[in-house]
């Protein structure tokens, strides 16, 4: 990606490339991530984030909810929503810490 891209754009592209790395490229479930690959992805790519915040249970619950509601394959939109669900409480925590340290 060209150097002129902003930090935010580069960060978004990392999330896109990470999806492409774990998705199935052919056959049934093409362009989606299987639940087992998604779990592997969490362990490998989000390990520190989940460990640091004790947020692993929340992540497990999010994946379980997919079982009930979806086709067992995770589309890009679902992947984005799941990572958002994991990130949101962490973002709250960081905000609280920053506000406490600046007050």
């Amino acid at each position: 990606m060209a150097d002129c891209y902003t930090e935010l754009e580069k960060a978004i592209m990392v999330l896109v490339e990470n999806f492409n790395k774990y998705m199935t490229s052919f056959g049934l479930g093409k362009n989606k991530i299987s639940k087992s690959s998604f779990r592997k992805m969490l362990q490998k790519e989000l390990n520190h984030m989940l460990t640091d915040t004790g947020n692993r249970k929340a992540a497990d619950k999010l994946i379980q909810n997919l079982d009930a509601n979806h086709d067992g394959r995770i589309s890009f939109d679902e992947y984005w929503t799941l990572i958002g669900g994991i990130t949101s409480p962490i973002a709250n925590l960081i905000r609280q810490q920053e506000q406490q340290s600046s007050s």
Copy 2:
């Protein structure tokens, strides 16, 4: 952030820090981004991404939908969803290009 964090974790933190940069820190709408700040953020931080893909109209529509459905302030979860909505068609495009170039 410590060097041990993965590329994905660092990328997610860029999205969190970008939200914190544009959010209101006090008073009404605390910990949310106003619509006008969100528009400014799109122009400044996602400018190339929106220009490159002709996706600006889609972004405008997403922000307009917020007008109808929300309180005029964008929470972290809404911010995450909006950026996902902008990213999703771009991610599809990249995937198609990669699949065409590898076939």
